[in-house]
């Protein structure tokens, strides 16, 4: 593993949301609908949704949202994390996820006081990603969700999660 790529973060706005589409199209086998992009662009929450810039250009992005789990309790749900192939292996993804976790620590007793865990869905065959979350951040493999994806094979996924509070 070579040294981490020095990146900067940038907000996702209606003016540049097209870049997110470009990154996602290059990274994921599934394509997200227009509503997904609209929601992110309009929300303009630069702590949960952000680009990773390297020397002025977008090389990756992470999109997260708050989801309710029960009465007044929430979880952070990672919708997408993508890094352009040419820039992988330089800890861009690690830095992006870490920045989300850092944000939680900052707001642990503030804005995110109702948040208990962070989680995501990952295709069962995506071993690299599973290893990434478990080994690097201590996520735990949860239930298997069958037929989560419609257009890709295998269609099943795991729920990966990490408890943020005891």
């Amino acid at each position: 593993m070579s040294r981490p790529l020095p990146i900067e973060y940038g907000a996702i706005t209606p003016e540049n949301v097209e870049e997110l589409r470009k990154v996602n199209a290059a990274c994921f086998p599934v394509s997200y609908n227009a509503g997904f992009y609209r929601e992110i662009a309009v929300r303009r929450d630069d702590r949960l949704n952000k680009f990773a810039f390297y020397s002025g250009k977008v090389v990756g992005a992470v999109c997260t949202r708050l989801e309710p789990i029960s009465n007044n309790r929430h979880r952070l749900y990672i919708m997408t994390l993508g890094v352009l192939a040419a820039y992988r292996g330089r800890e861009v993804g690690t830095q992006l996820i870490q920045s989300i976790l850092d944000y939680f620590e900052e707001e642990r007793d503030g804005k995110l006081a109702t948040v208990d865990e962070i989680c995501l869905h990952v295709q069962t065959s995506n071993e690299d990603a599973i290893r990434f979350y478990i080994q690097r951040f201590g996520f735990v493999k949860g239930e298997i969700v069958e037929n989560y994806y419609r257009r890709i094979d295998p269609p099943h996924c795991y729920l990966l999660f990490k408890k943020l509070r005891p």
Binding site: P14, E15, N16, E18, E19, A25, S55, Y87
Partner: protein, 964 residues
């Protein structure tokens, strides 16, 4: 105005007004000056009730009405007033002011002069007159008006300065100096004018400029010139303490030192300039080289010209030009420079781009130093590839120089930039660059290093390639391919780049440029638009997309794109007009012209012409302001710039566009096959006659739809304008009512701008004008203002020959030949002229006829006839395989028309190697096809030549669309 009225308030056919009315009149003047126009009119009406024929009151009322945009009424009233009181200077003055507001300056000057005849010493009128005179460049008149003013008010600094400017303007440099000195001598040594401050500094530098101009006027070698430079130098030293513009002072100092042969001192001065932070200023570097090599003053002046332009037409230099890229130096000289740059400057300024770059330009042309150049440029590129510098290919392209063979000047030789793809491809420096870029890619792709010998450990971290470096290496190579015309290879690389990093906007831009050059304009638009999508706040890419869309003929989408960045209220096109957005209007006009929408195209070209007229008008504000603020050097620059205004490229494009449309209309009107009507789009409609029935139906449906939409828009616009007007009227009323005027001045001025509703948005009125008259008008302006551009004379020929002006046409050919004797357009016209000559001569008198005959023969020199002229051109093509494609086509056409060559024979001139010649572009290839078509049509032979050409072109430009 007020002083005029005060000194003789009761002027009026010798009969003074009664007390009450004369007070009223004074108020009228006061209200006019404070812009309370409605009140002014009320008071004027008060006088006119009793004295309906009082001339001065009528005039003042007229003048006030003019400010309320009632132009017609104003003119009538002022004329009436003037008739009633011809001996009043007030009436004449008002008459002049009215003409001035119409920008009818010559009439205004006449009126002012009449007023001055009655009241010789009226300061206000003299001042107004002098402003008009300088605006109209009546320099003698200006000078004498300013002299009168100076004599009347010798204690005013502005009058001294203005008179000095007047003398300077008439070319009387010594006179200007003595005026300035007379003024400065009246100031004692510790006055403000002689201490260190901005105004005194500007005045002193202005005086020094005049001294320098005096020195320049002397022929360079005479001792006289040396004396003058000595004087300028001495003065410069004298004023050192009061000059605040240190940069300019040092620039002048270095220049004088070189002219005086004080090279050591010049070197020190320039070193100080570098130390002050001018390390990236190539003019300073160029000067420094001159001082090191001890060149003469003239060379120094040329090498340090602002912007690095190396003069002459066509050979526009780049901003990185220095002595070493303008003029061929001996290898001793180069070695000397190299030594200083590498051993003195580089250690001192290791981060300076210019200092890193200049040694490369020195190594470049030394055959013995090929390897040094290679390793130097290698290091230069690596650094920039790691950093990610998109302009690297463009930067390197300035290294492609060739010596100009010019027998007329013996020594030293000069350099010219190589730009034609065919020349670039074979240029030795280019081969080195291409080789380097390719080897980077091979090694970056396999081992992520620039070369296998690179060691990870010894180099600093900054010099290691990163993930991104390969992207820039591909980008560089694609850029180099663009330079040498290998568009397909370039596009392959840009596609690789986009796969690697799909959101690198620079790549979209380069890809679009490559697609455009390869003939796929629509593809280029798509690429750019994709790049634009990623950052909708990027005005640059948005504008570029708009431009490409216009070039691809998509004017409606283009308007939508550009509208993203115009003001959001109102019509975007009006906003662009108000912002004087020339590039958009020119591109749109070109687009409409190619679609044969003549009227609207004329309208857009006309808009650009209007902007330039406004630029010319704008200088009016500076005549007073600059003198008051003593920014005299900048003011001189503005005046000289304005003198040259209509020679600017944008003006030339607009004027040539207008001329070419009018000439087309003229030809269509006189073409019997068109029934003399010239229907092609004359009334803003497409040419239906060439379409099939189905196409026609579709086209008409589209036209109907467009018309409807346009009408709707117009209605909306009118409604908005109406509402605005009402609002403004209300605002104006309110403002007028309130007593506090100063606060409302600005608002009022805005309100005074009328809402212009264009009654002729499609320019149909323009189509009714006499085409030749209009063409002549603009061609005359170009001949006067842009005599160094060859296109000026070619178009002047086109206009003159249609007007039957043989000698003017001939003169245009001579002028064009002096600029570039091997221009294809010139060749075509020369041949054309020879065939039309006899017809023209038959209408001339004997003397003119003889001149025409003799001069035509001289034009063909050394050939004796057209046939020989064409023949020698054919020889030239055969002996030089790189002879430009347009020239080949012109010769081929001429040899069929005038030398009895067969089409098959003539077209070999084009087909044999034409595609590998100079001047090959998609557009040129299309033009050639057109020429071949005309040739074969006349001959009645098969289309084999056209098909052969199409094949060749398609091979060279695989993306080309709609060729057949």
């Amino acid at each position: 105005m007020s002083s005029a009225a005060d000194s003789n308030p009761q002027a009026g056919q010798g009969r003074p007004l009664p007390k009450k009315e004369s007070d009223l009149f004074r108020n009228v003047v006061k209200f006019y000056e404070t812009k309370q126009y409605k009140k002014g009119i009320k008071h004027a009406d008060g006088i006119l009730k009793k004295f309906p024929n009082h001339g001065e009151t009528l005039c003042m009322k007229g003048l006030t009405l003019n400010c309320l945009k009632k132009r017609e009424e104003a003119h009538a009233l002022v004329k009436l007033g003037l008739r009633n009181d011809m001996r009043s200077h007030v009436c004449w003055h008002v008459y002049g002011l009215l003409h001035r507001s119409d920008r009818n300056y010559n009439e205004a000057i006449k009126a002012y002069k009449q007023a001055l005849r009655i009241d010789r010493e009226n300061l206000q009128i003299l001042r107004d007159l002098s402003l008009l005179q300088i605006q109209m460049r009546d320099l003698e008149g200006f000078s004498s008006s300013r002299l009168t003013l100076l004599q009347l008010k010798p204690n005013n600094k502005i009058n001294w300065i203005s008179y000095a400017l007047g003398r300077h303007g008439t070319g009387d440099l010594e006179g200007a100096l003595s005026v300035l000195d007379a003024f400065l001598n009246t100031q004692d040594s510790n006055s403000v004018e002689r201490s260190r401050n901005f105004e005194s500094s500007e005045l002193a530098l202005y005086r020094n400029d005049i001294l320098e101009e005096l020195a320049k006027q002397q022929s360079t070698t005479t001792t006289n010139a040396l004396e003058q430079y000595q004087a300028a130098y001495a003065h410069l030293m004298e004023i050192e303490e009061i000059v605040v513009d240190r940069g300019c002072w040092m620039e002048k100092r270095a220049r004088y030192e070189v002219h005086l042969g004080k090279y050591e001192e010049a070197r020190t001065t320039l070193e100080q300039s570098l130390e002050r932070g001018l390390t990236e200023d190539y003019r300073v570097h160029s000067g420094y080289m001159c001082a090191l090599l001890e060149v003469d003053g003239t060379t120094y002046d040329e090498a340090t010209l602002r912007g690095g332009k190396n003069g002459g037409s066509g050979t526009s230099g780049s901003s990185t030009d220095t002595l070493a890229t303008i003029q061929v130096l001996s290898s001793e000289q180069k070695k000397r420079l190299l030594d200083v740059y590498q051993n003195e400057l580089l250690p001192k300024y290791p981060k300076s781009q210019a200092v890193q770059r200049i040694p490369l330009t020195l190594l470049l042309s030394m055959d013995s130093e090929k390897e040094l150049f290679r390793s130097g440029v290698d290091a230069y590129c690596r650094k920039r590839l790691i950093k990610g510098v998109p302009s690297l290919a463009l930067d390197l392209s300035t290294f492609l120089l060739e010596e100009v063979d010019d027998e007329t000047t013996a020594s030293p030789g000069r350099y010219r930039r190589v730009t034609d793809p065919i020349d670039v491809k074979s240029h030795p420096t280019f081969c080195i660059l291409l080789d380097l870029a390719k080897s980077y890619i091979v090694h970056l792709e396999s081992i992520n290093k620039f070369s296998p010998e690179d060691d990870d450990t010894t180099n600093e971290k900054q010099q290691q390639p990163s993930e991104e470096t390969i992207l820039w290496a591909w980008y560089l190579l694609a850029g180099l391919y663009e330079l040498c015309g290998n568009y397909a290879e370039g596009m392959e690389l840009t596609d690789k780049c986009l796969e690697h990093t799909p959101n690198a906007v620079d790549v979209y831009e380069l890809k679009a440029r490559l697609q455009k050059a390869a003939g796929d304009m629509d593809g280029a638009v798509t690429s750019l638009d994709k790049g634009r999508e990623m950052d909708k706040q990027d005005r640059y890419i948005n504008n570029l997309t708009t431009k490409y869309m216009l070039q691809a003929g998509q004017e409606e989408v283009a308007l939508e794109r550009i509208a993203l960045f115009t003001k959001h209220e109102g019509n975007p096109e009006d906003n662009l007009y108000n912002m004087q957005c020339c590039w958009y209007e020119l591109e749109l006009a070109d687009c409409l012209q190619s679609k044969k929408v003549w009227g609207k195209s004329l309208k857009k070209f006309g808009a650009v012409i209007k902007h330039f007229d406004d630029f010319h008008e704008d200088q009016f504000d500076f005549h007073q302001y600059c003198v008051r603020k003593v920014t005299l050097r900048a003011y001189r620059d503005v005046l000289l710039w304005e003198d040259d205004l209509f020679g600017q490229e944008y003006y030339g494009r607009a004027a040539e566009g207008i001329i070419s449309i009018y000439l087309h209309l003229h030809d269509a009107n006189n073409d019997p096959s068109q029934g003399g009507k010239g229907n092609d789009g004359r009334y803003g409609e497409p040419d239906y006659s060439t379409m099939t029935a189905a196409e026609r139906k579709k086209a008409k449906a589209i036209a109907r739809k467009k018309k409807k939409a346009a009408e709707k828009k117009l209605q909306q616009a009118a409604a908005v304008a109406e509402a605005k007007k009402a609002e403004e009227a209300a605002a104006a009323q309110k403002a007028d009512g309130s007593g506090n005027n100063h606060h409302n001045n600005k608002k009022k001025r805005q309100a005074a701008i009328p809402v212009v509703v264009d009654n002729d948005p499609d320019g149909l009125e323009l189509l009714k004008k006499d085409p030749l008259e209009e063409a002549k008008k603009y061609s005359a302006i170009l001949s006067k203002s842009a005599p160094k551009r060859i296109s000026t004379w070619l178009i002047q020929y086109d206009v003159s020959i249609r007007r039957g002006k043989g000698l003017m046409a001939l003169q245009a050919l001579y002028k064009a030949r002096a600029i570039d004797a091997e221009d294809a357009g010139l060749f075509e016209r020369t041949v054309d002229f020879c065939t039309k000559k006899d017809g023209i001569a038959s209408k001339m008198n004997e003397t003119a006829k003889q001149v025409l005959e003799r001069q035509t023969l001289l034009l063909l020199e050394p050939s004796k006839s057209v046939k020989e002229f064409v023949g020698s051109a054919k020889e030239k093509i055969k002996s030089d395989p790189l002879t430009s494609l347009p020239f080949r086509a012109a010769v081929a056409a001429a040899s069929v028309a005038h030398c009895g060559s067969s089409v098959a024979d003539a077209s070999t001139l084009v087909l044999d190697g034409g595609i590998d010649a100079r001047g090959v572009s998609v557009d040129a290839c299309r033009d050639v096809l057109e020429t071949l078509r005309t040739m074969t049509k006349k001959d009645g032979s098969s289309k084999a030549e056209c098909d052969a050409w199409i094949d060749v072109v398609k091979k060279r430009f695989p993306l080309i669309k709609n060729l057949a």
